[in-house]
Symmetry: C2
Subunit: 288 residues, 2 copies
Amino acid sequence: ASTLALGERQQEEEKKKVQAGSDGGAAAGGGGNGNKSIVSYWGVEPAKVTKEDGSEWRWNCFRPWEAYKADLSIDLSKHHAPVTFLDKVAYWTVKALRFPTDLFFQRRYGWRAMMLETVAAVPGMVGGMLLHCKSLRRFEHSGGWIKALLEEAENERMHLMTFMEVSQPRWYERALVFAVQGVFFNAYFLTYLISPKLAHRIVGYLEEEAIHSYTEFLKELDKGTIENVPAPAIAVDYWRLPKNSTLRDVVMVVRADEAHHRDVNHFASDIHYQGHELKEAPAPIGYH
Amino acid sequence: ASTLALGERQQEEEKKKVQAGSDGGAAAGGGGNGNKSIVSYWGVEPAKVTKEDGSEWRWNCFRPWEAYKADLSIDLSKHHAPVTFLDKVAYWTVKALRFPTDLFFQRRYGWRAMMLETVAAVPGMVGGMLLHCKSLRRFEHSGGWIKALLEEAENERMHLMTFMEVSQPRWYERALVFAVQGVFFNAYFLTYLISPKLAHRIVGYLEEEAIHSYTEFLKELDKGTIENVPAPAIAVDYWRLPKNSTLRDVVMVVRADEAHHRDVNHFASDIHYQGHELKEAPAPIGYH
Ligand SMILES: [Fe+2]
Ligand SMILES: [Fe+2]
Ligand SMILES: [Fe+2]
Ligand SMILES: [Fe+2]
């Protein structure tokens, strides 16, 4: 009986809805890039967000409370010595990937950063998603690791949003990224399903390589072979940088981010190595 | 040459690492459930988190800044009248799913809530993940929709963490959830790939049904056929409820959450219907 009654109630509401629509009571969501507006009964209006100085917040892809000051004091030289068999698999996988990558990009570090950040944002999302599904399936708390890994993915995506202001991708580069993402997403997904400890170890080593590449990037900037252009506006807002910051400052904070990802992923792998599950150790949330 | 030099430098660091390890300089992460400790060179120690009153924060699966007061004033009766063909597909898909679900669960709403929240947390994660990959692949900003959908997924997971304090799943229920998640995840993934507007519309209707079910849950609580037990501690902290809250209060705030998800998903579908992409309209972030 309740199903029938619901059916009738809905018919009434539908009428109300149509009325609301024709009354012009629909709210318009401001377009992201201009004046395009969306008319919707649902009129979920985004909150007006302002910067600390009261000026309007320019970005929809991230909000002021996600911005932070990078911790530049982090030890950049830390390294996990590969000990076990899986460690060595992870280490040599990453080293083997490095060789063709170096050949391909050579010393064009701005372009390299843009291209590789499209890949760097995948593992956090895959790991977070798999842990989320596991938490649901097993009726278990996550220990904060879902959040921590998703935060890593969002942080890497912000690296991409930053570097794409400096280098623009051409059509065949887009095609390459498309193909690489397809392969890498699935490869990482399978690796994480089979062995999360191997997956996190691989990411740990990838981050060690990223630190190395960004250090090389800095050297080229200092030599002047890459022009030290002003920092993109999005980077200034995301890392709370001074207004007159340059690309060099951006590479510094990005490198510090990579060092934090290195720590988190090697730590996650260590937890698994010691026979524990991630949820048993509280995740480092907001570890920048 | 640089690769070789790097190799040598690493060997040195490996030695340093082993030393650091044997020095006992390793940090121990506090175990989630007791005294299990993880020894790690990486020693990423979680920040000490306290509640507003200064007492220790008990939860790792969410943090104080994710807690909020639910907006109970939201209109529960809003409904999207199915107009287009795809709308009708979405509407009747959900109605068709409702019938066996009602038969299966009957009036055991606590159990129903626990079981269905394992499914409810899937669409936000799938949508967020797909938009994330799209943002990377296309070098595009997300308009905040990745975050908004991931927030929905986390919110639904908190519903599950709450209801599993009230009803405990038995082994065959776990098996059922396992199977249903496998089917639903893939079905929703494919639907979102083929037609995000259909996918969001389906979720919109699912949320309308969720509101209906939670209203029935409240009726049973008021009739006394379901015992109005004290609210689980995790719910009190997550929705900032008064200390002496009951299950009824929890169902009220959960129902308000579902109404917010309904708005966001119907709105997302409307954006697609009007020929726009989600990124063109700023996402409702922190819309509770
Ligand atoms: Fe990065
Ligand atoms: Fe990274
Ligand atoms: Fe829910
Ligand atoms: Fe919901």
